[in-house]
């Protein structure tokens, strides 16, 4: 139970509020323009097709309006940001080669020596560029490609070109267009047919200098019968002006393959976290999104699964904490484009100190998608009178032979439960924590415990009383 006192993870005060002096070898001029985009493509020595796509995406970005729904994004000043910065010359291959001040950052984040051995491969992103990258030999032998996306564009151009932008095209939404224009870093994973990747693949990245946005682009391709579990997590220091994180994740899961994508997001509470995450699942494929949203000022993220062929199955487990000044607008989308496909969406949220947690979801069944089964369950807990919870589910069912259900509830901590625990000598605060723990446990237990660094550090800080 002590490992899982997730209530203690409430980011009441973000104690990792440090950042190194910005030391950059290069960064583009402030703001976004054709020149900036061309510079990015040039620095990365990208092929023409990628450069063209970036420029086209910039046009789309400029032509699209900000979303008219969802959280308030008016404080984002898109002109006042640096869209690309580079901290060192080339991707590194092991710790000893990583520049000192970068290693210091990791030391201060407290990655224990022992943990490092368990990591399968780490692509650490420092301000838009990968500086550290290491691949275990087993992966390479199996034919698994795990690289930062920039490297993948250079070393596996055909593979990247075949899939890049096919799941989330630049025009999909304004922030996908932005990402498509200025993306940098992110992970590229390719798993060959039949290969099961036993150890979860992970990555770190963080925002550093003021007003630098993070625009990583992740692309995962799982060939038939393969399996991989990818874990994404991040941390960022406090800034006085707003930071923007607009990532795009595309996951392609072919026949009989399975991909699990776990995220624990704990951005500092000035970050706007606007992410488009989408997967396509083919025949008998399985996609699982495990999505934990703890930090950020605003998060807009709706992991989606497009079930394209019979037998495909999609699952989303979404957990959100909304504390003071936070708005977590999270959810899931399941689009059933083929018969005999199934989806299960589970969302749990906790709001306290005036935080706002919203579930926003879509279940769509196209005509012809016979035998579809989908169930959505959203539960929200309000811890006090200032907090807020909303549910915005949409169902669009164009096929009669389906079984679709959606249930949601919003409640406060049960007085009966509190009374019971208090009558056993447990004080109210402790009792509340236990109850909240029980509430979130079904999702927390799905987060991999091997992914220890972020969670363990956060929990330690809580237990030390360093937060609050």
């Amino acid at each position: 139970m002590t490992d899982r006192k997730v209530t203690e993870m409430m980011p009441d005060a973000y104690k990792w509020g440090f950042h190194d002096e910005a030391r950059y070898l290069f960064r583009t001029e402030r703001g976004l323009s054709r020149k900036v985009v061309e510079e990015i493509a040039g620095i990365k020595e990208e092929p023409q097709w990628m450069r063209d796509m970036r420029l086209r995406a910039l046009e789309v970005f400029e032509s699209k309006a900000m979303p008219s729904w969802g959280p308030d994004l008016s404080a984002i000043n898109l002109n006042d940001m640096y869209y690309y910065a580079r901290a060192s010359e080339r991707p590194e291959r092991d710790w000893s080669e990583v520049p000192d001040y970068i290693r210091q950052t990791f030391e201060r984040l407290g990655i224990p020596e022992a943990e490092r051995k368990f990591l399968a491969g780490v692509g650490a992103q420092y301000d838009s560029e990968t500086v550290y990258h290491n691949m275990r030999e087993e992966l390479a032998k199996q034919g698994v490609i795990f690289a930062d996306t920039d490297t993948a564009v250079r070393e596996h151009p055909d593979l990247v070109q075949r899939y890049f932008g096919t799941v989330v095209p630049p025009a999909d939404n304004k922030f996908a267009a932005l990402n498509s224009a200025v993306w940098s870093g992110g992970s590229f994973i390719y798993v060959p047919e039949g290969v099961q990747v036993e150890i979860p693949l992970q990555a770190y990245f963080r925002i550093n200098a003021e007003n630098i946005g993070q625009f990583e682009r992740t692309l995962i391709i799982a060939e038939p019968g393969s399996f991989v579990h990818y874990i994404e997590g991040c941390t960022a220091p406090i800034y006085t002006t707003n930071s923007l994180h607009a990532a795009v994740v595309e996951v392609i899961v072919k026949k009989g393959a399975r991909v699990r994508y776990s995220t624990v997001q704990n951005w500092s509470t000035n970050v706007y976290n606007l992410v488009t995450k989408r997967s396509v699942a083919y025949e008998d494929a399985v996609v699982e999104w495990v999505d934990g949203n703890l930090g950020s000022k605003v998060t807009m993220k709706y992991p989606a699964i497009y079930l394209m062929e019979p037998g495909a199955h999609g699952e989303v487990l979404s957990l959100s904490f909304a504390g003071r000044g936070q708005h977590q607008d999270a959810g899931a989308k399941a689009v059933h484009a083929a018969p005999y496909t199934t989806s299960v969406i589970t969302s749990k949220s906790v709001s306290k100190d005036g935080g706002r947690a919203s579930y926003r979801g879509l279940v769509r069944a196209y005509r012809g998608a016979k035998g579809v089964r989908s169930s959505v369950r959203c539960d929200a807990l309000l811890l006090d009178g200032d907090s807020r919870s909303d549910t915005y589910p949409t169902m669009e069912i164009d096929e009669r032979d389906v079984t679709v259900s959606h249930e949601a509830s919003v409640s406060k901590v049960s007085e009966e439960q509190l009374f019971y625990l208090q009558s056993r000598g447990i004080d109210e605060q402790e009792a509340t924590k236990m109850i909240v723990n029980g509430f979130v446990e079904p999702i927390v237990k799905e987060l991999p415990m091997e992914y220890a660094v972020e969670l363990n550090r956060l929990i330690e800080l809580q237990l030390e009383g360093a937060i609050g």
Partner: protein, 438 residues
Amino acid sequence: MMLDSVSLRKRQAIEELSARYDEPIWLLQHRLKSWRLYEDILPPSGKEEEWRRTDLSALSLEGVRLFPGPVTHVPAPRRNGRDGYAGAIVQRDGVTLSRRLASDLERQGIVFSDLHSVAREYPDLFRTYFMTEAVQPIAWKFVALHAALWRGGVFLHVPAGAQTTVPLHAGVGLSRSGGIAVFPHTLIVAEEGSSVTLVEEHASPDDDRPGLSSGVVEILVRDGATVRYIGVQDWGKNVNSFATIRAVLGAESQLELGLVGSGSRVAKDTVEAILGAPGANAKIVGLFLAGGEQHMSYATLQDHRAANTTSDLLFKSVLNDSAHLVWNGLTRIRKGAAESDANQSNRNLLLGENARVAPIPVLEIEAHDVTRCSHGATVSSVDEEQVYYMMSRGLTRQDATQAIVDGFLRQGLECLTPVRGHDGIGRALERRLLAKVA
């Protein structure tokens, strides 16, 4: 306000309409002002969440005559209203054909009449309540139109303390539905501690030409009062029907709202229950049966503004052929509405191969001290196992499907029984509804 800006022809037409009913000048002015509002208010663009899935051509007034022609022949009523009711009004084409009210209800001071009569005989009552509180002309474009051109109407006013046990009935019909517009208006005011039940049916024959209905139902339930309203919509198959139903509840008051939607080509309704005082309770039951190419769209609101309020919405639909139903349901629990209890349940049965449904239940919760706030929506077709089971017992597939649909609807139909033991919305109607989804 520039009355001159209302085009002369329209003004004259409205004046004629007003004169026909011998209306006082203030009522004519209300109509003219509303017409001006109608011209000023922009129509929906289609981008609004509640209009996105509806074909906006339903708003077209082409081929629809807004102003009634001269009344030539008023057919005699076949019967003096429905049996088993303590009062009944029968209207056709905006003309009241018959009206009756049990003497004991009259003695209690209950007013149950058409709006024209009330405007003449009880002007104070009329001016106090008509489109002042529950629904105002500015609600949206077609409500402003309604406020300018309404005819007939049903007014039910129950004085404080007056309790009724037997329901009242209103039948509003059209002799034909093609090419004309109708604006039914129902206004129910239940003063403190009173109770009343009204069953209202809207019907018209099928016609190849388009028709329009923009109706309004205003319900004011004062402290401690109870109102049960059952509205049955069965307009002809080419009528585009828009209804705005809004109830305002006082402290410790009770509302039971039953809606049956069966007719029209496009039926777009707004149904709102405002629980603005402590202890208010609203129960909303809707049964919708659509077939052919019908499109039904319901936007509902359960608005909890005060503590200890409860609401419960149950919408059930059966969709055949290529019918399409949209439900935008919002439950809002505002800060301060402590210990509120709200629920939405939506069950959709898809029968037709091309039937489609879009349930969109939304919760916006700002008060943390909620007793319960939940919702559930399901979509399915007939359970094949159940069908095979029944067929193995000798029923045809058709009969088996019918039985399942019947069972599905029964729970909803039971909720629509206005008073225990009383014939619900009429067995004939029930049969008609079930035949429709066969």
